[in-house]
Amino acid sequence: MALKGNLRDFSTTQLLNLVNLARKTGLLVIQGQTDTARLYFREGKLIHANIGNADGHLADMLLKAGKLSAEQAQMIQTRAGMQSDKQLGLALMSAGYVTQEDIVQSVKKHMLDIVYTLFSWNQGDFQFDQNLLPSDDRIAVPINLENVIMEGSRRIQESEQLQDELPDLTSVALRFTDNPDARLRNVNLSVEEWRVISFINPRNTIKQIAQSNGMDDFQIRKIVYGMLQAGLVELARPEGMAAPAVGGRRGGVEKPPAVKRSVVERLITRIKRI
């Protein structure tokens, strides 16, 4: 079953979050205005990426990462011919041009540059096809998406978009999701994010956390949005505050009607017979 949609309605951040939480394996193709990006995932981790016509040759990745000079990259591409990335990597290590760590870091940088570009795409059709993987000759370096989502969210500069995601700061608090300690150990948080973390408590509204840290609405939205998308925290109603009437006009919450258990059981029996 393919997942289809448009980034206009379901953003890159939300897509990566879905892939991460559902531990998906497959190929995500995003058709941007000028380029097409292809991201491969295995069990929720990014393992390969390319964009546009660039095939993502290993020599190009090493050049971009500064591990090879332009002349070296040119020479390798000419000589390597049809050699696969894996074969080329082994040859370069044997010849002492690069280390294994150089290759891993260069491939990671190449993938991350592509993914972070996608965070700025506001529209474009996407399709996720399950179980499609890159060819075996590619070097697949698994990257956890939590940090990618955090960093990508940091790069979202549009305050309007953030405001759309988190319109209300005064009547919403934060709480940690289940087992936050295990997740926090694997996530790189900035100093500002740690400061927000230290104030997370169902008694504190997001606005109060911002005020305590001397942050404006945009700064706190950006941080909270990143942590929400990474699944570290979730929104909660502040303790002692009545449920907000979202769009309602009564200003209060109506009690459910008093219905006896036997009535519900009669309804169940009747519907089963239909």
Binding site: M1, A2, L3, K4, G5, N6, R8, D9, F10, Q14, N17, L18, L21, A22, E234, A243, P244, A245, V246, G247, G248, R249, R250, V253, E254, K255, P256, P257, V259, R261, V263, V264, E265, R266, L267, I268, R270, I271, K272, I274
Partner: protein
């Protein structure tokens, strides 16, 4: 005679009218109009006030099903329809991801009207591009204690299952409350 009410809500074209039609013992009283907006012209007519269906349990008890209008400009009807509801069902068009944000918005509004149990029905699961209920749960950030059910609103058995699951949730809520 006692009457109880359930509300079927969801975005424009999610399949609310079909859902009620599949199970109601009477012809659904539907207040439909021709679509005027070009952007929303994915079907010929839409519900502008409400759909109304009925299931008679016995001579003392009747269940009414109310379908809300999906278009935002008729949202003044939502609160009126929600009054006194036993529970509600949020129907989602699993194929049209552009409606997911609206579905989440509608869900939050109905939650604010009354703390009644609800379930989410992922409709149009028979179509090849339908998002699975598991993916929809993540996409719409639906709590793990809320049921997200696979559904094809034109299939009576699917509709029965969704209604039954909502009733089971209502029973569970009663047990927790006692």
């Amino acid at each position: 005679m006692q009457t109880v009410k359930m509300v079927i809500t969801g975005p424009f074209s999610a399949g609310k009218t079909e859902f009620i039609r599949s199970i109601s013992e009477i012809d659904v009283v539907s207040t439909e109009r021709k679509i005027s907006s070009e952007a929303e012209r994915v079907k010929e007519a839409t519900t502008v006030a409400m759909d109304f269906g009925r299931i008679t349990v016995d001579e003392d008890l009747v269940l009414y099903l109310f379908g809300t209008p999906g278009q935002r400009r008729f949202d003044f009807m939502w609160e009126i329809l929600s009054e006194g509801m036993l529970g509600f069902i949020v129907l989602i068009d699993s194929v049209r991801s552009e409606t997911f944000r609206e579905a989440k918005h509608i869900l939050e509004i109905f939650r604010s009207y009354a703390p009644t149990p609800y379930v989410v029905a992922a409709n149009k699961q028979d179509l090849p591009d339908a998002w699975s209920p598991e993916d929809l749960r993540i996409a719409l950030k639906i709590d793990s204690n809320v049921k997200v059910l696979s559904c094809v609103a034109t299939e009576k058995e699917h509709v029965k299952n969704v209604l039954l699951e909502l009733l089971y949730s209502i029973l569970e809520g009663m047990e927790e409350g006692t």
